[in-house]
Amino acid sequence: MPRIRSLGLSFVGVGTIIGGALSLGVAAAQAPSSGPTKQSMGEAELKGASLDYFPRDRLFRILGKDVLSAKGENMGRIVDVLFDETGQPHAAVIDFGGFLGVGTRKIAVSWSALRFDLGEKKNVIALDLGRDQLKAAPEYKYTGSDKPIPVVAQPQSAPHESNPDSGR
């Protein structure tokens, strides 16, 4: 019984430390941004963490989102995101092709081939790769293999034109 209690106490301690560090990090990262609105809330309720509110059109979920090619072809849906060791997203896994779920293939595409700044169309993500470039790619498998993960990227020569909307 005493052992369990001490464990519990130590968890509370760790939690507080992480919470404090997190609140510092979030505050530092978001200081220059003008988007979020700070709302004062009782410090006691959040244990010192800060709370920001973002406009609905600033943040969005990514799992299950449709991906369209530049030509407007439906490329499938994002089912997973792969990160590298620095914590940056490196690739998105797309459930590609098929009919009613039969014959779909999971294909990992480079994160840099995705575009999120489509202006009005908030519900779709654009991909700088076409159907023909994706269809023959090897399938992505998360489990059951220690082989390297195949990630499809756009050709190096392709100019990465900047979208005027992206700096918003």
């Binding site: 590609f96 092709g97 039969v102 014959g103 293939r105 023909d132």
Partner: protein, 419 residues
């Protein structure tokens, strides 16, 4: 077709009018029930992906359904044997499937979806046997093969229509609408069920277990079917068949995705719908032929088509050629769709355990299918798709060989079968 209905209608039933009404009810019941099966297949993972589920959570929910489907087969069949009214059992199963479709459409969270999958799996393992038992009760033994042929025909038409409707609804309205449609189609399914005269109530000898008191030793004669060599052989045959069959379409469809252009989805849709057309056309013939020539020739036709399909898939690269090859699946589906219910009726006779035995076969089918996708996936990872198709073809050849070498004819020797 009309002629044969009339013949049965005038020949056997209590009176012609209610009989033909029952037969039409069975036709429509099979048509609407088909939608329930396809409504919960691989498509549910597409839907759950669309509402933001992770792959892991989808896997958990679908596994719950798979496990429930396996565990539910024998109890589901036993339940149908135990209840007096097979029609009531069917109605309860349809109601449960409507509930699970609504749950999926309206409450896509882990617990409700897992619950819906389990509910749907168990209801399905009641519904199939209930329809078989009701069909047997309505037409009697003499016309059962022909009736099963018609059941398979309307099931196939229903499957094809359901795939088309689901594709259209999913594309234009949204995936949630498909589950609402599935739930809505439960209403005409119940109406069709209601058209059927519940003959099972009038034939307790045919379809219900004998009183336990008749067998004081506990190992009553009526359970002898459980160790019947024909049943065990047939279970081994269908398990091997599914081990070879279940993974074939998904792998072929994956190849279509890889090799075809923007029309890939349409080619896969054709691979799903085209064999249903074959099944719809030949099933009634298969049912009549099984009553005339016997079960074995039709069984060999269905099992024989499978290794041929596997070998053709292994050797063909053009995605469009996948469609005609997939037509062979229509022959297998017709043969197995008609003969499973027929052969089990032959074997169990009047033991009163007809649908329990159907559940045992269902378990063998489910086991084979589950192992098939896993096993074929492993082979495909290491050796490629051609080798996978050849392996599946080899397993299918073993299944056909087992039918050829060990599966006896189960058609009762005398043609003067009483109903």
């Amino acid at each position: 077709m009309t002629r044969s209905i009339l013949r049965i209608g005038l020949g056997v039933g209590p009176s012609a009018a209610p009989m033909s009404r029952s037969l039409r009810g069975l036709d429509w019941l099979n048509f609407f029930v088909a939608n329930f099966q396809s409504g919960f297949g691989p498509f549910i993972s597409v839907y759950l992906t669309g509402v933001g589920w992770t792959q892991g959570a989808i896997g958990v929910a679908l596994s719950a359904g798979t496990v429930a489907a396996m565990l539910g087969q024998v109890p589901g069949g036993a339940l149908v044997d135990a209840v007096c009214s097979k029609r009531a059992a069917g109605a309860a199963a349809i109601a449960a499937i409507i509930a699970s479709a609504l749950l999926i459409a309206l409450w896509p969270a882990l617990f409700p979806i897992a619950l819906a999958e389990i509910l749907h799996s168990f209801a399905s393992s009641v519904l199939g046997p209930a329809i078989a038992a009701l069909s047997l009760a309505v037409v009697g033994r003499g016309a059962f093969g022909e009736r099963l042929g018609r059941n398979a025909r309307y099931l196939a038409i229903g499957n094809a229509v359901a795939a088309g409707l689901m594709g259209t609804f999913g594309y234009y309205i949204g995936e949630r609408a498909i589950f609402l449609l599935t739930a809505a189609l439960g209403i005409p399914a119940l109406a069709a069920l209601n058209m059927i005269h519940d003959a099972s109530l009038a034939r307790p000898k045919l379809l219900s277990p004998k009183p336990i008191s008749a067998k004081p030793d506990g190992t009553g004669r009526s359970w002898r079917w459980l160790t019947d060599r024909r049943l065990l052989t047939y279970c081994a045959c269908v398990a091997l068949f599914q081990l070879a069959n279940a993974a074939m379409l998904p792998i072929a469809a994956g190849m279509v995705t890889t090799r075809a252009g923007s029309e890939a989805s349409l080619v896969i849709a054709a691979c799903i719908v085209a064999p249903q057309a074959v099944t719809a056309v030949i099933s009634p013939w298969a049912g009549r032929a099984a009553e005339g020539w016997g079960r074995r020739p039709i069984l060999l036709l269905g099992f024989g088509a499978l290794p041929i399909r596997g070998m053709l898939f292994a050797g063909v690269a053009d995605p469009y050629l996948m469609i005609p090859i997939q037509l062979l699946d229509g022959f297998s589906a017709a043969a197995l769709g008609v003969l499973t219910a027929l052969i089990i009726a032959d074997i169990t006779g009047d033991s009163g355990h007809y649908t329990t035995a159907l559940g045992v076969v269902g378990l063998a089918i489910g086991g084979g299918a589950t192992l098939s996708t896993t096993g074929a996936g492993l082979v495909a990872d290491h050796f490629g798709s051609a080798a996978t198709f050849l392996s599946l073809a080899a397993v299918g050849l073993c299944a056909a060989g087992l039918v050829w070498g060990l599966m006896p004819e189960t058609k009762p020797a005398s043609d003067a079968v009483n109903t």
